[in-house]
């Protein structure tokens, strides 16, 4: 494998960071400010995209920033896995920015400069996490991300957001400091390195109990992944403005959590070690539990965003589940679900926000017949739902297909049942919304008069249309991403 | 608290007792403390510095750096008393005595002024007619005490004593003045500005001598380097340096002792005291 040294990964992280002072200084001129956001977004995306050919050709881009101790430095590395994640985050950042402008201006929110600044900080940290070369760097950006999202969650500055923000922080910071940090330092203590390697870093230095404890500390410690019982921050954080929810759930926060778990399983422990100790099953059990339980909870939620939140929790566990299968197809399916779910779920959140901005409605029971009023939005919602359920013609089908294939490959037939059951549950909690929206009769419809089309403004509709189309597009052209994952995981 | 204190005290005492087990016997001439550095000092000091009082030599030369900080500590104490207690507000109650008649006047309003010329005398609240014998004896004694203090400072190289002791004695002579007469007499003669300037000046003399040595190309406080500045026998230069330093210490200590006394006894008002 060829190693290239390049400053590009660092630049990718720095671009959104450096734009923050400009954002703050131009807080009086919203248009200028937003122009800068897009500028930064595009520059960042092109930086990421410019590295794709190199990564696809099998080389690895590395850059070491500072050395803390041998084997534990602040360093960047771009491999297939990181590239996949960076592409997702980079592209969705632009879309989300567009959306958030529409949303925030539409609702005349306060503190918009603060909002966009921390948004930029969050995306910077996400990029950093994607390009981390070792666990220490990953942890660093993980923590920055936690703190950068805190003001976003607390944006409304009222009692409700205070409680949510507190819960968010207790779970995220508590687990990362209380579980990940000691686990990470212990790893370093045992092996003297934290750099990711597909073979794992423990060369037979761990006993099975120690490995189990460490693995569990990591899996639960990266609470952003929403593995039960450390999931309850996610529904609570729904008080945040919708673009934040989109960011939290689809782009940055939860995906960084899952990404971290994937990194730990594939890069720190290594597939062979886990297979040797048969620890994949442990993780799979935990993940399956989360999948089923949270799907059931989602069924009972009336608030649209909360339903989406619980859906996210279960979908995240798919990814963990897939990686823990330890079989090539399973891992491929799990990791590519990061991408597929991101596009599907962000579409759903965009729709929820658009509905809220246009009509002020938050509850599913209020949405009967709304589809005729907002056809584009609900069409996108339908596509997004398909993507999350895993039905063609959306990308979600591809990941679910591979996951099921993976269970068979690994010989874990019983877990295939879990996947199927949860898919049914998914369908149960999404499709009725769409059905009711188009065919149900709301209070306003009793008169039978023909409803006028009342979409939200263009800034809101455009992004959700784009992501919905992208979701379909991914069904037809997943090959590049598959290549990235294959390279990244050495499948 | 008493019991708690007792336990701690016993523990400490026990620890110290345990420590004494291995100590060399008291007065043992062969103990490490009496041989290692001590021998060097005793055998070489006169040769190196020409000061027969070993304590002064070590104090002002070999460990002059310590002594400089010791003086700084004294200065600190004086400044601390000033900072903590000094109170510039005028006192509400004032007492005056009409000298010819001996009648006491009590003023409660700070604004009132007395214009009756020199016949009135500002008095302390707890004023008692002063004792002629004490006043006279002290008046005679004080100059002698002061001369003795100067002697102690100047003769520190040869006999017990030195800047610190001399300074304290000089300071006590001033305090004696305050006690035998009253505080105002002292404050009139030795003003606050005088004292604070002297306190700082004393330490400055010390540090200044050291810095001068440094400027002459030596180490800090290396009096030997001052030879070109002072018209003296080069062998004797260290003794002279020490004398200079001792004078500085004496000045500072004298001033600080008076400052502390004045501030404590008058609660920082500088008006009346013992």
């Amino acid at each position: 494998m060829e190693i290239l040294i390049s400053i590009k990964p660092l630049l990718t992280v720095l671009v959104p960071l450096l734009v923050i002072p400009i954002l703050v200084s131009s807080s009086q001129k919203p248009n200028v400010r937003e122009a800068w956001i897009f500028g930064a977004g595009f520059v960042m995306f092109f930086l990421v995209a410019s590295m794709v050919p190199a990564v696809l050709s099998g080389s690895k881009i590395v850059f070491t920033l500072f050395e803390l101790a041998p084997g534990a430095d602040i360093a960047f590395q771009v491999d297939g896995l990181g590239m996949l994640f960076a592409l997702v985050a980079g592209s969705l950042y632009i879309v989300t920015s567009l959306y958030s402008i529409g949303y925030m201006r539409g609702l005349k929110e306060h503190g918009q400069t603060r909002f966009v600044s921390f948004f930029a900080l969050a995306i910077s940290a996400t990029m950093g996490a994607a390009f981390s070369a070792n666990l220490l760097t990953l942890y660093l950006f993980y923590e920055i991300l936690s703190l950068a999202t805190y003001p976003l969650v607390a944006h409304h500055e009222d009692a409700k957001s205070r409680i949510s923000a507190r819960r968010y922080l207790v779970f995220i910071l508590g687990t990362s400091i209380g579980l990940v940090l000691p686990a990470m330092i212990y790893c370093y203590h045992v092996t003297g390195t934290l750099a990711f390697s597909t073979a794992g870093i423990f060369a037979g230095q761990l006993s099975k109990p120690a490995a189990t404890v460490l693995l569990l500390m990591f899996v639960f410690g990266f609470a952003k992944a929403g593995i039960m019982p450390f999931h309850s921050w996610l529904p609570a954080a729904m008080v945040a403005p919708t673009p934040v929810s989109a960011l939290l759930h689809a782009v940055a926060v939860v995906k960084v959590g899952v990404f971290s778990i994937v990194r730990v399983i594939t890069g720190i422990f290594g597939v062979d070690l886990l297979a040797h100790f048969n620890l994949g099953v442990v993780v799979m059990v935990i993940a399956s539990f989360t999948i089923i339980v949270s799907s059931c909870i989602a069924l009972s939620q009336d608030e649209l965003k909360r339903r989406l939140a619980f859906s996210t929790i279960s979908q995240l566990s798919y990814i963990v589940f897939g990686v823990a299968l330890l079989s090539p197809s399973g891992q491929l399916g799990g990791v590519i679900h990061i991408l597929m779910h991101a596009f599907g779920k962000i579409t759903l959140f965009f729709c929820a926000g658009a509905i809220f901005v246009a009509t002020g409605k938050k509850y599913i029971s209020q949405m009967k017949g709304l589809g005729r009023q907002m056809p584009v939005t609900f069409a996108a919602f339908f596509i997004g739902s398909l993507g999350v359920i895993g039905l063609p013609p959306t990308g979600g089908f591809y990941s679910k297909w591979n996951l099921i294939l993976g269970t068979l490959e690994a010989g874990q037939t019983i877990f295939m049942v879990v996947l199927l059951v949860s898919s049914f549950l998914n369908a149960f909690y999404f499709l009725p919304i769409v059905y009711q929206a188009f065919f149900g009769k709301g209070k306003d419809d009793l008169s039978g008069a023909r409803v006028k089309i009342q979409e939200a403004n263009l800034c809101l509709v455009l992004p959700l249309a784009i992501t919905a189309l992208a979701s379909i597009g991914l069904f037809f052209f997943p090959q590049m991403f598959v290549d990235l994952i294959t390279l990244g995981l050495n499948l | 608290m008493k019991f708690f204190g007792f336990v701690i005290v016993c523990l400490t005492g026990g620890l110290l007792l345990y420590g004494t087990m291995d100590l060399p016997d008291w007065g043992d001439p062969g103990s490490p403390a009496s041989t290692h550095l001590s021998d060097y000092y005793i055998e070489h000091i006169v040769e190196e510095t020409q000061v027969p009082n070993l304590v002064t030599a070590v104090l002002a030369d070999y460990r002059g750096y310590d002594t400089m900080f010791e003086t700084a500590v004294v200065f600190c104490a004086g400044l601390a008393c000033f900072l903590l207690l000094r109170d510039f507000r005028p006192k509400k109650d004032r007492y005056f005595r009409h000298v010819p008649t001996g009648v006491m006047l009590h003023f409660k309003n700070p604004q009132t002024r007395l214009i009756a010329g020199n016949e009135f005398e500002h008095m302390d609240k707890d004023w008692v007619p002063s004792d002629m014998i004490i006043k006279t004896v002290c008046r005679i004694l004080i100059p002698f005490i002061q001369i003795y203090a100067l002697y102690v400072v100047a003769h520190g190289d040869f006999s017990p004593g030195g800047g610190f002791q001399g300074g304290v004695i000089f300071g006590s002579s001033l305090i004696l003045m305050a006690i035998s007469y009253n505080l105002k007499t002292l404050v009139k003669r030795v003003t606050e500005k005088f004292l604070s300037v002297f306190a700082a000046l004393g330490v400055l003399i010390y540090v200044g001598l050291g810095v001068a040595a440094m400027l002459m190309g030596g180490h800090f406080l290396d009096y030997g380097m001052l030879a070109p500045l002072l018209p003296s026998d080069p062998g004797h230069i260290r003794a002279l340096g020490m004398l200079g330093v001792e004078i500085g210490v004496g000045i500072a200590v004298m001033a600080v002792m008076v400052i502390i006394y004045i501030n404590i006894v008058s609660e920082g008002r500088h008006d009346e005291g013992l």
């Binding site: - | 017990p160 006590s172 404590i264």
Partner: protein
């Protein structure tokens, strides 16, 4: 032999020390403390530490006592313990 004198003075010193912290009159404490310092200074003179003894005589028995008396004058003289 030096140690019998030494021992006697030491006993006095201890006596003064205990008295100084137990007397209920603070002025008494000041004077006892002065006596303590003076005895201490004797002890040191006996042991050959003339400079230290000199200092203790002027500081401990002299100025410190004056400070203590001055402070007692400005505060209260009686105490409960």
């Amino acid at each position: 032999m030096l140690w019998p004198i030494d021992l006697i003075v030491l006993t006095f010193v201890i006596f003064c020390a205990i008295a100084a912290i137990t007397v209920r009159d603070l002025l008494g404490t000041a004077i006892l403390f002065s006596a303590y310092s003076f005895l201490m200074c004797l002890l040191w003179a006996v042991m050959g530490a003339v400079d230290v003894a000199f200092t203790e005589a002027s500081v401990g028995a002299g100025v410190s006592t004056v400070f203590l008396v001055a402070a007692v004058f400005r505060t209260s003289r009686r105490t409960k313990d």
